[in-house]
């Protein structure tokens, strides 16, 4: 659709596993993603660790090369574009990293760090680079006089702000935020999330917000996609997902959220078994091995991600559930959402 800023079709990333010289297997980290992000829209990408969301984020900014599928940004196919073709788009597409300690070059002043995307692309903003840096620092809530300081002189939260400022420096249209608050103290998390939300509104940025914390995602994102083992199992508007989840996995996830304002009746949905290995995912529906409602058809046929009656979101399930979350009898371990 021409209105989408970012359109992803069948995005796939397989990592070959080498046993010596032969290829012993294939890690299907991301296995056919479909989603779109419109200008100014925030899409959350959630799932447990290992589901492939970080890999997806890296592919969007072309730090990783997709094995299959396509990525379209502003109408142009950037799936396998070379460095030269990507050049004009670098300003429009930026990324914020997770680790505030590793994402800043310890030998550069923060001013230099923030200016890096400009320097790399040879952009001199009107008014000078320094003025822009100070402007950005103010925007993210840092003292602009500290542009000459080094990262080790800032706290974790402040460093993350620097990372945000860096991503904003070239004036992007879409920002991929890869777990931007996961490494921060809980008290700081809220500050930074609020900052991001203010920036998003002020600058009209589109976001792909990757996280595992459902509460944070709810606070920030307009739309949410739930990933499991390299696939999207449910995608839709935030309220639809949070209030009327249809996929058993989504329901399990939400039931596990320790939230003051309860989303559903007391009691967790426990999922049995461990997450299968992405080297050899289950046939048919990947979630069937842990799904409390799995039936024969689930093993035989892979469900497509489509809209069903009874909901606005798209889900990939043969037997979606409706209604508020209820306790389902099951044995086994909790579906812990690892922090």
């Amino acid at each position: 659709m021409s209105e989408s800023l970012l359109r992803v079709r069948g995005l796939t990333k397989h990592f070959p596993v080498r046993g010596g010289l032969r290829r012993a297997g294939l890690v299907r980290a991301v296995d056919g993603l479909d989603f779109a992000v419109r200008a100014g829209e925030t899409l959350g990408l959630v799932g447990e660790s290992g589901c492939g969301k970080t890999t997806t984020g890296r592919m969007l900014v072309r730090l990783l090369e997709p094995t299959g599928g396509s990525i379209e940004f502003a109408g142009r196919d950037i799936t396998h574009a070379g460095r030269r073709e990507l050049r004009p788009l670098r300003s429009d597409l930026q990324i914020i990293f997770q680790d505030p300690y590793a994402s800043l070059n310890p030998r550069h002043t923060v001013g230099r760090i923030i200016a890096m995307p400009l320097e790399v692309n040879g952009i001199t903003p009107p008014g000078g680079t320094n003025a822009r840096v100070r402007e950005l620092m103010e925007l993210v809530g840092l003292n602009p006089e500290h542009y000459n300081r080094y990262p080790h002189e800032f706290s974790g939260g402040q460093r993350q702000r620097v990372g945000i400022a860096r991503a904003l420096a070239p004036g992007p249209r879409l920002v991929v935020a890869d777990e931007p608050v996961s490494a921060l103290d809980v008290s700081i998390q809220a500050q930074v999330v609020n900052l991001l939300r203010d920036l998003q509104r002020e600058l009209g940025l589109a976001f792909v917000f990757i996280a595992h914390d459902l509460a944070v995602v709810r606070h920030f994102c307009q739309r949410v996609a739930v990933m499991y083992l390299g696939r999207i199992v449910e995608i839709g508007d935030r309220d639809d997902i949070y209030e009327r989840p249809q996929h058993p996995y989504t329901r399990a996830l939400l039931s596990a959220v320790p939230d003051v304002t309860r989303l559903g009746p007391a009691g967790r949905i426990r999922l049995s078994g461990d997450v299968p290995t992405p080297l050899d995912p289950p046939s048919g529906c990947r979630f069937r091995s842990r799904c409390p409602a799995a039936r024969d058809r689930c093993a035989a046929e892979e469900p497509a991600l489509v809209r069903r009656d009874g909901g606005n979101q798209a889900i990939a399930c043969h037997f979606p559930e409706s209604g508020p979350l209820g306790a389902m009898p099951a044995n086994g371990t909790d579906a812990e959402v690892p922090a």
């Binding site: 670098r90 030998r107 809530g141 080094y150 080790h152 974790g156 402040q158």
Partner: protein, 339 residues
């Protein structure tokens, strides 16, 4: 989160909120400038007494070496002047301690009767020049190859590794011995005078060709560790080219081990030059050489210990000072304290 104690006070200002305290804080903070990790290391070095003493000795040696012609002018005796009338029938220096006197500060060489002090000064100059030049060359070659191999990986890494292994396997001494007369013959035929600069150049070239491998390995290891860091990915995501990655992002983070390796390479080259001059590679008898003097003096340990003493103490002090300074440098640059 460790903060530099120096900036603790200023940091509190930042935490309490950017713009609010900025006005009042600016005038106070202007006096405190951000300290780079390099500057911090320098401060630590300055505080270390061992570093100061050994550093001062090194500076003294370098000054003496640089001022050799002036010293010769003031002293009045050149390195080739002979005083055989001050030797006895066996060619041993008359008087005390190998001929030490007001005219000859360190006495005379047995046999040829040349002044030891001025020969030491000139020899120091030659040795230091060779050692520094070789250390610089090996550092440059090692850094270039190590960085390229570490960052680009793949076939380039394999090729560089192969070249490194080959260089390490080459019989250094045999090649040096074989090459020198061939080169001399090639450039100067059989009858032309060979200028001392040629011998020096050959020696430096030999050191450079064989000595870069440890620096290369060191840098390669550093770069491999660094290239997965997120700040490197951030630069790549912004579209940084190879040049920017190498020079702006990676190298500034590798200079610490390079510097330490350099400071330890210099004394190694001094002793290597000594050994090689003794067996006739590179410097001829006419060029005053530290190394040749020491090796010749060892034979006279029983009969003219002063002849051993002066060059021996000098080289001991020189190498010792370098090693101490290198150790102090390594302590000062320790990454644990420059977070």
């Amino acid at each position: 989160m460790s903060l530099s104690p120096v900036d603790g006070a200023a940091l509190a200002e930042i935490e309490s909120g950017g713009a609010a305290g900025a006005e009042a804080g600016v005038s106070r903070e202007r006096r405190i400038v951000g300290r780079s990790p390099g500057q911090l290391a320098w401060l630590r070095l300055r505080r270390d007494r061992t570093a100061l003493v050994s550093g001062a000795m090194l500076v003294l040696f370098v000054l003496v070496a640089l001022a050799a012609p002036l010293i010769e002018l003031a002293y009045g005796i050149g390195p080739r002047d002979q005083f055989q009338s001050k030797l006895d029938g066996f060619g041993m220096p008359l008087g005390y301690a190998g001929g030490v006197s007001g005219d000859h500060f360190f006495g005379l060489e047995p046999g040829l009767g040349r002044d030891i002090f001025i020969r030491l000064v000139h020899g120091l100059r030659t040795s230091l020049f060779i050692a520094f030049a070789a250390a610089v060359l090996t550092a440059v070659i090692g850094v270039v190859l190590g960085t390229l191999a570490g960052y680009l990986g793949g076939w380039l890494d394999a090729v560089v590794n192969w070249i490194t292994d080959l260089t390490l396997a080459l019989p250094f001494l045999v090649i040096a011995l074989a090459l020198t007369p061939t080169l001399t013959l090639r450039f100067y035929g059989q009858r032309d005078a060979v200028p001392p600069a040629f011998g020096i150049g050959v020696l430096i070239a030999i050191f450079a060709v064989f000595g870069w491998t440890s620096t290369a390995r060191l840098v390669r290891g550093q770069v491999i560790a660094l290239r997965e860091r997120e700040f490197v990915e951030a630069a790549r995501a912004s579209g940084a080219g190879l040049g920017h990655m190498l020079f702006r992002q990676l190298l500034p983070n590798t200079w610490a081990p390079i510097l330490v390796s350099f400071s330890l390479a210099v004394p190694q080259f001094i002793t290597s030059e000594a050994a090689l001059s003794f067996i006739g590679v590179g410097l001829t008898e006419e060029t005053p050489s530290f190394g040749r003097m020491i090796y010749q003096s060892l034979d006279y340990l029983q009969t003219d210990p002063a002849f051993v003493f002066f060059p021996g103490v000098t080289i001991f002090a020189l190498v010792f000072a370098f090693n101490l300074f290198g150790d102090a440098l390594r302590d000062a640059l320790d990454p644990k304290s420059s977070r």
